[in-house]
């Protein structure tokens, strides 16, 4: 009867890995509450002796965080909009038609997923420069990041579309709807959850987009929060609780959204897989 022990072992391993991954998050919050001297105390304290929240408003104004967060939101919204509008159509076609061209399309979409942003950024920079897009750096970042987010979205939403039976569409056609009408009135409502979940994931990941923004946007008033944060960090940085407070302000909304929606996100991601 050794079998019941195996799941326990796996649970312990999973918890240990989660702890390793989540510890920085905990440390971020804790450090942001500490005073300057306590941060450097040895041995370190795992819970601040005195919680000091005054760093939050001061960081907010000192680092003009509203500008950074606004830019982040703008970029994330732009990326999500482009990805959802084009990615949904693309995913539908890839889900419904089966021929050589569709296979080639699917393969190239998956190839895009493989290319890392750090490799793509230089050629993109050169191309955007040629097109004069660097004068609109946020637009340029939105385009680049949308291209990066697209494959993930397309692959997941395609799986969602595959779970919508073809016969429903055919029934709608026979009932008197057009191909496009059947897509909007039958297929889209049924795939809505999956699309919504993928859109949220796309939004959250592009909210933290860094590589393209860092390389393409020079003007600090147009930079997103991720780049603004890196402006803090340097070889001699000591302002740890301000940095941690900044990070906390940046990350907390995303975390909150994720925690609120996590049940739907998990079910949305697995519903395609189970069918």
């Amino acid at each position: 009867m050794t079998r019941p022990y195996i799941p326990w072992l796996l649970v312990v391993v999973a918890l240990a890995l989660a702890a390793v991954y989540l510890f920085p998050l905990y440390w971020m919050y804790v450090t942001s509450f500490k005073s300057g001297s306590e941060i450097f105390a040895n041995p370190p304290t795992f819970w601040p002796r005195e919680i000091d929240l005054s760093i939050y408003p001061s960081v907010w104004t000192r680092r003009t965080m509203h500008v950074f967060l606004w830019n982040s939101t703008l970029i994330a919204a732009g990326v999500t909009a482009i990805t959802v509008i084009f990615g949904t159509g693309c995913a539908y076609v890839l889900a419904r038609y089966r021929n050589v061209w569709v296979d080639i399309g699917l393969f190239s979409v998956l190839m895009l997923q493989v290319l890392p942003a750090s490799v793509m950024v230089t050629p993109l920079f050169v191309a955007f420069n040629q097109f004069g897009l660097l004068n609109y750096p946020r637009t340029a970042v939105v385009l680049a990041a949308a291209a990066k987010a697209m494959p993930f979205f397309v692959v997941l939403v395609r799986a969602t579309f595959m779970t919508v039976p073809r016969e429903l569409e055919e029934a709608a056609l026979v009932d008197g709807n057009s191909r496009v009408g059947a897509f909007f009135s039958i297929v889209l409502p049924l795939a809505r959850n999956g699309i919504l979940v993928c859109a949220i994931l796309t939004f959250m990941s592009s909210f933290g987009e860094y590589i393209y923004s860092k390389s393409i946007i020079q003007d600090p008033s147009l930079q997103p929060a991720s780049v603004g944060l890196s402006g803090f960090l340097g070889p001699n940085s000591t302002d740890w609780n301000a940095i941690m407070a900044y990070s906390a302000i940046y990350v907390t909304p995303i975390l909150a959204v994720f925690v609120l929606l996590q049940r739907r996100i998990v079910s949305g991601l697995t519903s395609g897989a189970l069918k």
């Binding site: 039976p165 016969e167 055919e170 029934a171 056609l173 009932d175 191909r179 049924l190």
Partner: protein, 351 residues
């Protein structure tokens, strides 16, 4: 009678696969036509071509006198009941029923009244605000039917609508669909792989195999006069027995073994190799001298009938009397010579 649906020389290719081979079929107005055949015979493809869900590679299709070959499904004014029912899961029963009406610009109040009327005839009145997932299989089936009849189409197309129901419900729905057809005076095309459904429901049965129509006709004509061995074996349950043999010297019987001879009602070409077809229900246990014999290999009793299968599995016999045979018994058999069918061993064609 005028043809409601007219198919002329229809061909359909899926890449290299030739799914429909020069199919021509005329479906009379008000008739109930069943397309039967084994899976992959092209019956569903034919139905879907009529609906416009498949494009025809070549040939002509007319519905109610109008050329419909390349017309999209929505302009064909036909209704279809799918095997999976294809109810819209995000709509209530009422919304499912009125979907086509709303698409055709029928007003809300009128659509609602129409839905209530259809629901009453199909027994769905209490279920109008439910969602499909809250319905049983039979209820879903009724919604699918209701959705088809609500707009009074030129033809109803059924794609194996009963195959997801249990046996008892299937028998009941069979009658209901037929009754509905008669009441509406509709034209129906019904695809099934179940020959009993085809025989019991249809006025006209079309037997298909490998993309061609093997035979079409009234159900009993198909049963009595199958044009080839395939149709003979497909129509009728349990299936017709086929026995290899040679026509006797006098041409009045088929010699099927030592001293065994199946009598014929007419003169046949002597010494010709043939396949004799005899239906299990036409075989009788001989009272006097038997014309041929049979060793019992298996006995199945359902109460109303007894099914005997020969030791080699080649011959089956259905008797309504309880005969009390057991495995290993040698039984003498007889048959009315008029009920013996002869087929060519190579081509399978009726002789």
């Amino acid at each position: 009678m005028t043809a409601q649906i007219e198919l002329k020389n229809i061909d359909k290719h899926y890449g290299a696969f030739h799914a429909l081979k020069n199919v021509s079929l005329s479906i009379a107005k008000g008739s109930f036509v069943a397309l039967v055949g084994p899976s992959g015979c092209g019956k569903s493809t034919l139905l879907r071509s009529i609906a416009g869900l498949e494009t025809i590679t070549s040939g002509d299709l007319h519905i109610a006198g109008k050329e419909m070959t390349g017309v999209p499904p929505r302009h064909r004014d036909i209704a279809m009941v799918f095997q999976s029912y294809a109810l819209y899961p995000h709509m209530t029963v009422e919304e499912n029923l009125t979907y086509s009406l709303r698409l055709h610009g029928v007003g809300k109040a009128e659509a609602k009244a129409k839905a209530a009327e259809v629901a009453a005839t199909t027994g769905l009145s209490a279920l109008l605000s439910r969602y499909p997932r809250q319905l049983s299989g039979g209820q879903r089936q009724r919604v699918a039917m209701g959705r088809a009849i609500i707009r009074n189409p030129k033809a109803f197309l059924f794609d194996e609508p009963l195959s997801n129901l249990d046996a008892a419900l299937r028998v009941q729905m069979r009658k209901e669909i037929r009754a509905l057809h008669d009441r509406l005076g509709a034209t129906s095309v019904y695809v099934t792989h179940d020959q009993i459904e085809a025989m019991t429901m249809a006025d006209w049965v079309v037997v298909m195999r490998d993309g061609i129509i093997e035979q079409q006709g009234r159900p009993l004509d198909l049963y009595d006069q199958p044009v080839n061995r395939f149709v003979a074996g497909f129509i009728g349950s349990p299936a017709m027995n086929f026995v290899d043999g040679v026509i006797s010297e006098d041409g009045r019987g088929v010699v099927v073994g030592a001293g065994d001879r199946i009598p014929l009602a007419r003169q046949a070409e002597p010494n010709r190799k043939v396949v004799a077809g005899v239906r299990p229900e036409n075989l009788r246990v001989a009272e006097g001298a038997a014309s041929f014999h049979f060793e019992v290999g298996n006995v199945e009793s359902t109460g109303s009938a007894t099914y005997l299968t020969s030791k080699d599995g080649a011959l089956q016999l259905v008797q309504t009397e309880r005969l009390g045979f057991s495995v290993g018994d040698r039984v003498g058999l007889d048959i009315d010579p008029a009920l013996v069918h002869l087929f060519d061993p190579q081509s399978g064609a009726r002789i």
